[in-house]
Amino acid sequence: MELIQLTNLRKVYSIGGLTIEALAGVSLDIGAQEFVAIMGPSGSGKSTLMHILGCLDSPTSGRYMFKGKDVSSLRSDDLAAVRNQDMGFVFQAYNLLPQMSALENVMLPLSYATKPVRDGRRKAEGLLEHVGLKDRMKNRPVELSGGEQQRVAIARSLMMDPSIILADEPTGNLNSKGAREVIDILKALHEEGKTIIYVTHDDNIGAQAERVIRIRDGLVVADEGD
């Protein structure tokens, strides 16, 4: 059984009387342990697709089966539980809470855990160590470089042992060194057996994935594996 099955997924926005079809009928399957890049020009609908995959948004129509369960029509609290348990997010702008230390940021998902996590603090420390930030745990985001912040965000995304890591332009704000580090970590996580989906418009970054899905005008225009 596939991890993700999308059937004819549509997302329509109306802004000031103007209707915009961000997704015009997307069908695709993504299996467990895949390493997928979603690519496309800006406005192509790739971010909308990412948001729906991450249960941050709901489709207007169509069906989204996640782990064999239809999540397209779940209530907001149930979606929150899915995000907490199964989705690890990495954002372009890192999205760390500025008032908290790196360690507290990594531990934040525990606050909303629906099932107890043992030794959460030790686990968070281990994750930070894993992304090479052992000595930066007490630092706040402003005291970290962009690359370091994104590594904290990756550690946070792993906190609840999610089924998928969803990364939205994870290297978009980074210099080439930081971008390489982040991609290397994502690759390493994939090799450990994680499912990773990331959005990018950068061909070089996209080429790192094993499978590239190209989106244009709300439709899948190419889906190529290695």
Binding site: R83, N84, F91
Partner: protein
Amino acid sequence: MDLRDSYKNATRSIVGARMRSFLTMLGIIIGIAAVILLMAVGEGSKRNILAQIQGSGSGNLYLTPGAQSSILSGRNSTTRDTGAKITMDDLKAIEARVTYPIVVSPANTIGITVKRGNTTMVGSGIFGTETYFGVNNLTIESGRPIVASDVSNRTRNVVIGANVMSTLFADVSPIGELIRINGMSFKVVGVTASKGQSLFGNSDNAVILPLTVGEKSFGMQHDRISLTTIKSVNPDDSGAVVNQITSILERKHGKVDFSVLDQKALTNLFSSTLSIFTALLAALGGLSLVVGGIGIMNIMLVSVSERTREIGIRKALGARERDILAQFLIESSLLSGIGGIIGVVFSVLVANLIIQRFLPTYVTMSSVLLAVGFSIAVGIFFGVYPARKAARLRPVEALRYE
């Protein structure tokens, strides 16, 4: 979300914006202080007056002209033009017909100017009889009281209060000395011991003159007694004495154009009036608490829009609507709760260290609980709208917010 984490988060964001939090709390602090201090003053004066009633002598009854007791409207009231009056003849009838042992003490009071040499003071002139002292628990410090012959002979002998003596007679003994009251000459025959403020004024600032002098020299209306104190020698009889006086005067006047209050009726009269007064004061204070609450709502709305992105991040990490709701409600109730506690400490200190010097104050536990409870309720009530607004943000939109 764990409750301890929630409080930690809320404290962090309150401390993170210290100045803003303080200014927001200031609204609550002032509101709480207003409630507690106004209630303390209300309660203080209530207790003070009730204590004076208790101290005014048990078994005392107060007879005033007019169906509504004029005691509350001021002790100096001569009867208004209702024609209602109490005369010496009425009092004689009471003395003759009441079957319980009583002492009747008629008195009229006016404001006077007392002068000796170059020293002048303003006080009250009480026109009474030889019974005035016993009925009002006044003791003579030196000299003698007003006696029956002073009243019948209309002598110009007076007894002065302790403050009058210390003001006018700093150096010499006042007994036998002359003073001028409203320009007329009187001889001091006695001084009363200090008694302080009582229900019907401060006898320390008073000069007691023979009742009959009032009419002759001070232009008071003929044969009208504004306040008669009747002491029931056995306090247990006072209820029965009230009934007898009522029926005697009702038959004599043909209607009830007077009022007789015993200590219990007086206590009830005052405490119900004063309770309304205290409640009004509390409501005034409550208004400022509501204003403080609006301040909290305002700042929470600012906080929600400033932290839209944070809300988006928390939602992405699995926060449910109720988690976000709780986060902002805890923050607003913590703001108002801390403000409330500061307000309580502040107002208890102010009440006991400062206002106490000028006004009788009494901080009741119930006013403190009321104020703190109300402030937390205000924090929750005015926090709900911003918190719901935050909780209902859609995660995608919140994350997109710059």
